[in-house]
C-alpha cells in the first residue's frame, strides 16, 4: 500500500506532463498521438532504440543519484553539471598522460603521455580520478556551506560556470591537437577505452555506444542504497537531512555530513565522465553534456530520491531523449525540444507535490542558511 502511494504521484506527474505536452503539440499543429507513437515506438525498438535509450539513461542514473544523495542530506546540488565537467576532463587527462601513443584527428601518431599503463591499471585509475575530482568539486560547495554559510544552490550555480570555463581553457590552450578545429582534447590511450556492451550482447550492433558504464551505473545504485541505508555515514547523512537540529543534539557533526554528502554527490556526478570519455568519445569533448546535471534533478525528484526509483526515471528520460530524434525528423513542426518541455512539467508537478505531503523537513537546511 505504501509502495502504491509512493508510485502514484510520479505516475500522475508523468501522465500530466504528457497531457500538457500533447496540448502543446496540438497547438503548434501536429498530431499528439502520432508524435508520442513515434517517440515511444522508436525508443523501444530493438536494438537501436533500446540500446540508445540505455546509453542516454546512463549519465542520468549517475546525476540522479548525485542529486538524491545531496537531497537526503537536505541539500540541493544543482552543480552536478560542473562536477561532471571537471571529472570528465580529469579522467581524459589521466588517460592521455598515462595512455601511451595515440593516433590524432589527422591520422598521425602522437605521444603526449608520460607512461603507457596497461588497461588493468589505467581504467581503474581513470575511473577513480573521475570520482575523486568530481567529489572534490562537489565538496567545495559543501565546505563553503558548512563552514561559511554560503548557500549551496548559489555556490553550485557559480561553480558550474567556473568549471565550464576552466576545462574549456585547459582544452583550448593546453590539450587540443594543434590545428584541430573542434574544441576537444587529444584522444585518450586505447588502454583506457572501456568496452561497448555490443561485445557481450548478441544482436546489439557495434554502432550503439552503450558501454560498461551502464553496468557501473546499476552498480552505483546498489552501492548508494547500501551507503545510505546500511552504513553509519548514510544514517548520519539522512539524519542531518531529516532534522539537522536533532541530528546535532544526537552528536552528529552536521558540518561534516554536509561536506561528505556533497563529496559523494560530486563523485557520482563525476562518473558521467566515465561514460562519455572512456566509453564513448574517447577524448574530452567540450560542452558534451546535454544538461545531464539539471535533468538529474528531474530524475531524482521523480525517482523519489531512491536508487530504484532513479533507475526507472532515468530510463524514462533516456527514452525521451532517444525518442526525440525521430520526432525532430518525422513531424511537421515539433522539434526535439518537446523533451525539455515534458521534463520541466514533470519537475513542476513533482515539486509542487512534495509540499502536499508536508515533507519540507527534507529542506530543513534551506531554512537555516543565508540565501
Amino acid at each position: 500500500m505504501k509502495l502504491l502511494r509512493e508510485l502514484l504521484f510520479p505516475l500522475v506527474a508523468v501522465a500530466a506532463a504528457f497531457v500538457v505536452g500533447g496540448i502543446v503539440v496540438l497547438l503548434i499543429g501536429d498530431d499528439p498521438i502520432y508524435t508520442y507513437k513515434l517517440l515511444i515506438g522508436s525508443a523501444l525498438s530493438w536494438p537501436d532504440g533500446i540500446g540508445r535509450t540505455l546509453f542516454y539513461a546512463t549519465p542520468l542514473i549517475f546525476t540522479g543519484l548525485a542529486v538524491a544523495v545531496a537531497f537526503r542530506c537536505g541539500l540541493l546540488n544543482i552543480g552536478a553539471e560542473g562536477q561532471l565537467y571537471v571529472a570528465a576532463f580529469a579522467t581524459a587527462w589521466v588517460s592521455i598522460k598515462l595512455g601511451g601513443t595515440v593516433v590524432d584527428v589527422f591520422g598521425t601518431p602522437v605521444n603526449y603521455s608520460w607512461a603507457s599503463l596497461p588497461a588493468v591499471l589505467l581504467v581503474p585509475l581513470a575511473i577513480l580520478t573521475a570520482i575523486v575530482v568530481g567529489g572534490a568539486w562537489g565538496a567545495i560547495a559543501g565546505y563553503l556551506k558548512a563552514y561559511f554559510g554560503a548557500h549551496e544552490v548559489i555556490t553550485t550555480i557559480m561553480l558550474n560556470f567556473i568549471a565550464v570555463a576552466l576545462v574549456s581553457y585547459f582544452t583550448q590552450y593546453h590539450y587540443k591537437v594543434p590545428g584541430d578545429p573542434i574544441l576537444q582534447t587529444a584522444p585518450i590511450g586505447a588502454a583506457a577505452h572501456i568496452p561497448r556492451l555490443s561485445a557481450f550482447i548478441p544482436g546489439l550492433p557495434e554502432s550503439i555506444p552503450l558501454n560498461v558504464a551502464f553496468i557501473l551505473a546499476l552498480l552505483a545504485c546498489a552501492l548508494v542504497y547500501v551507503f545510505l541505508w546500511r552504513t553509519k555515514w548514510g544514517y548520519e547523512i539522512r539524519a542531518t537531512g531529516a532534522n539537522p537540529t536533532a541530528a546535532e543534539y544526537g552528536g552528529i557533526s552536521i558540518r561534516k555530513q554536509i561536506v561528505l554528502a556533497m563529496a559523494v554527490s560530486g563523485g557520482l556526478a563525476g562518473m558521467v565522465g566515465v561514460n562519455e570519455v572512456l566509453g564513448y568519445h574517447h577524448r574530452y569533448y567540450d560542452s558534451f553534456s546535454e544538461n545531464y546535471g539539471f535533468t538529474g534533478i528531474a530524475v531524482a525528484l521523480l525517482g523519489r530520491n531512491h536508487p530504484v526509483g532513479i533507475i526507472f526515471s532515468a530510463l524514462l528520460f533516456g527514452m525521451l531523449q532517444r525518442g526525440a530524434i525521430p520526432v525532430d525528423a518525422f513531424t511537421e513542426h515539433v522539434s526535439k525540444d518537446l523533451v525539455q518541455v515534458l521534463q520541466a512539467i514533470v519537475i513542476l508537478f513533482v515539486a509542487a507535490e512534495a509540499a502536499f505531503r508536508g515533507s519540507f523537513g527534507r529542506f530543513g537546511l534551506l531554512k537555516r542558511s543565508k540565501v
Binding site: V24, I28, G29, L76, I78, L144, F148, G149, A150, H151, V153, I154, T155, I157, M158, L159, F161, I162, A165, L166, S168, Y169, Q172, Y173, N291, F294, T295, I297, A298, L301, H333, V334, S335, D337, L338, V339, Q340, V341, Q343, A344, I345, I347, L348, A351, A352, A354, A355, F356, F360, F363, L366, K367, K370, V371
Partner: protein, 294 residues
Amino acid sequence: MNEIFKLSLIFSTIRLSTPLLLAALGGLYSERAGVINIALEGLMLAGAFTAAAVTHYAGNPWIGLLAGILAGMAVASIHAVACIRYKADQVVSGTAINILMIGVPALLSGAFFLSSGSTPQIPKDNLIPWTPVVIAFLLVPLTWYVLYRTPFGLRLRAVGENPGAADAAGVSVNGMRYAAVLLSGALAGIGGAYLSIGQSSLFTRNMTSGRGFIALAALIFGKWRPVQTMLACLLFGFTEAISIQLQGVKVGGEEIPNQFIQIIPYVLTIVVLAGFIGQARAPRALGMPYQKER
C-alpha cells in the same frame, strides 16, 4: 589605450550591464518579498523570444517590448503559483522554469519560423537600442524609492523578512509575493527583450547564455539592495566588455585566455557569499512558503 578605446569601453559596459540590471532588479523584488528567483534566466528567454517574434509580425518594437513584458509575467506566474499556491521548493521550481524556457522558444520557433530555435532578422529601424538602457538605469532610483519610501515597499520587505508579523499587521503575504514575482517577470522580460530587439536583431537559441545567473550573482553581490546591485551589474558588465575587447589581443606574445575574465563574476559572488568581503545577508524569509496560522 587611446580616448576612443576608453569611451567605447564605457559604452559597451553600459550596454552589457543593462540586461543584467533589468533582470537583477526583477530578482530584487521577488527575493525581497521572500521568493527565490533562480528562474531569471528562463524569464529573460521568454521576454527575448516573444519580443523578437512579436516585433517581426507587428513590425513595431514597442508592441514587441510589451509582449516581451507580458511573456515574462506569464512565465513568472507559473513560478508564482508553484511556489506560493502549491508551496513548491522555490529552487526546484525555478530550475523547471529554466528548462521549460530552453524548450518552449525552440519549439515555437520551429513551428512558426521553421527554424531550429531562432526568429527571422528584424530590420534595423525596428530595433530599440537605447530605450531599455534608460529604463534600466531610471529603475534604480525608482526601485530605491519604492522599496524604502512607499507603503508598498515597506510591505514587500516585511513580507520577505517576517511574513508572520506582516500578516498580523493586515498585509496579504501571498498577495504581495504574487505581485513581486510578476514584477520580476516583467523586468526580466524587458531585459530579455533588450537582448533580442535592442542589442541584436533576432532571437537565437539560448541567447541569454547565463546572463540570468549573472544577474542573480549581481543581486547577491549587491546584497539585495538597488544601488549596490546596479554597481555589481556595472562591474560584471565591465568584465564582459573587457573580455570582448581583449579577444585576440596579445600581451607579451601571449593571448589572454578569455575564460579567466569570464569567471570573475562567479568567483566574486562566491567570495561575497562566503562572507570573505563583508556579510551578505539575505531576506530572512527567503525560500520559505508562508503558511497562515490557524
